[in-house]
Subunit: 343 residues, 2 copies
Amino acid sequence: MSKERVTLSHVAQRAGVSAMTVSRALRSPDKVSPALLRRIEKIVAELGYVPNPAARALASGRTNVIGALIPSVTNNVFSDVLRGIYAATEDGPFEVQLGNTRYSPLTEEKLLAVFLSQKPAGLIVTGIDQSPASRRMLEGASCPIVQIMEIGSGPIDMMIGFSHYDGAAAATRHLIETGSRFPAFVGARMDPRTQRRFAGFRDVCSAAGCFSMSRCVTTPTPSTVTLGTRLFADLVARHPEVDGVFCNNDDLALGILFEAQRRCIAIPEKLTVCGFNDLEMMAAAEPSITSVRTPRFAIGRRAVEMIVARLADPGPDTGRGAAERVDTGFELVARQSTARRPR
Amino acid sequence: MSKERVTLSHVAQRAGVSAMTVSRALRSPDKVSPALLRRIEKIVAELGYVPNPAARALASGRTNVIGALIPSVTNNVFSDVLRGIYAATEDGPFEVQLGNTRYSPLTEEKLLAVFLSQKPAGLIVTGIDQSPASRRMLEGASCPIVQIMEIGSGPIDMMIGFSHYDGAAAATRHLIETGSRFPAFVGARMDPRTQRRFAGFRDVCSAAGCFSMSRCVTTPTPSTVTLGTRLFADLVARHPEVDGVFCNNDDLALGILFEAQRRCIAIPEKLTVCGFNDLEMMAAAEPSITSVRTPRFAIGRRAVEMIVARLADPGPDTGRGAAERVDTGFELVARQSTARRPR
DNA sequence: GCGATCGCTGTTAACGCTATCACATGGGAG
DNA sequence: CTCCCATGTGATAGCGTTAACAGCGATCGC
């Protein structure tokens, strides 16, 4: 058993053809006669030939790498998106290169430069708030690009997501409709999407005449269940009148549930609670927690599919096809934590 | 602004030196005169030169890719490990290539073949239960390899993790010591590590004379909070006498907490509960939940560090250095859910 | 003062693959 | 019976980088 790598020419030699033909047999099988194709495939299997992606990339100027820029790997939201991305790529020829921007535009710029220099097959970026420099790089790129998780105007190329503002607005309306007169906002890691959720909350409350900035507690630190308990403790200490909380995500909502139980504040009788994203555990909680369901897995999968489709058919325009912009919507899932009749 | 890629020779031309010198300036700065080095660095920055990794890989026969084979991206456990891996790589020259084995040995074999063909700088694989084929491939590989999450005998190369058997045994002992006479086991996704946890539970219970197979409910499906509620419902329906539960992970434990609340089964008075992994929310829950803390982030980070260290100093042996085998241990964190005096 | 040595830089030749064009064959249209 | 084109295959030339060695002053030891 030789330690040496099996290359195209080894296969070619064994098959009595040129390396180019073997390359074609693997890359575009329809351009090789069927009999020869079978013979080559057999030899490839025998020798255990695996193409060298570096050589391929160098020679062709393209790679089969789809780059994905995600702000966090820990956050449940993005692990679902990631799962969708992996699900969509695992049958195809593409592989995923993950970049963790850690919510930093600067990190994103750096990663973008690195990714783009590798001539990726496509790029997935999170959100619509790229820095000017990032945006310039992306606009100059020659591969399909999908902005995910959010929709807005002026897509760089393609876009799939939903309106965080509308999602939060719907949740807030629900809180008010189920009788909250002193609604509060609890938010962590105030990234742009979170801020738009806050805006949705604020505008709906203002319109209903029940907005109070001092009932909004936020922090730049990442959201956790424990953080939810703390922020809620702060909130009730300052505002015992609070009778409804919109959390900018489910971790916080769960923390509030626990802290309320600890303080014997009945949910939903004394306090209604609504989260965001609808993580699996929201339905299982006691009481179950109302949340805004977002199609995270689908967004990840669809983003890859959009890139693959574009690659297969670049569209009528030279270069980029017509920009696709998909609004996935969201769904307010009302549960026990807001099951209260309005007075 | 030219669309053309900036290559080494562009930089070289501008600097009035050969491409090789620029390559050296970037790769081993100490072999280039300081003045020239500065000049080259300036031009690199000006031109925005980014090395082509494909060309580098092809020419040098090595890559700076560390491959990581993980059974799940969704599972909180592995997202923490992943975070550790990313944390350790983000300052260095290495990048991570993630492979999702989805708990399938066959998928793992395929991914391994692909990864190894790319001559990675190092490889991280999960667990110690590689298939014979996988093991052969890994043993034949010429890069550092770390098996993570578990320790056992006969490491392929390096290894970092803890004993799942011992962790479960400690938890079970704790359940019995805090007064459980009819302890139960609830487990999902019975992968090898989970099974060893079960073995720990079983052996400790048997030794204490309180093991009953029919009080062990398991399922091959992935663990979720909702699944925890269901399995617990099944369990109490068949065994109302159960007064303590060891869950093979925290999702299930949380589900059990919720289901117990729904059924007004007081925790810890009527039922004690212990999870595994000590996810963040265990401490925040009401009542807080006892769990076995495992150093997931540290394992991920350390695994990368072990690879980097090996790469820097291959050790005395030809090829591979002395195998490193790190037992990180675990920590039983007792909380309210098991706060009961033994009778 | 002279060869030996060191430090820095250049030249050449790959690495494994694919783009491109050239070439050979065979069949169908005129 | 030509001519043309489609089809399948081969030869050649890179892609951008690094390994390996060659060269060439300058410094050093004796």
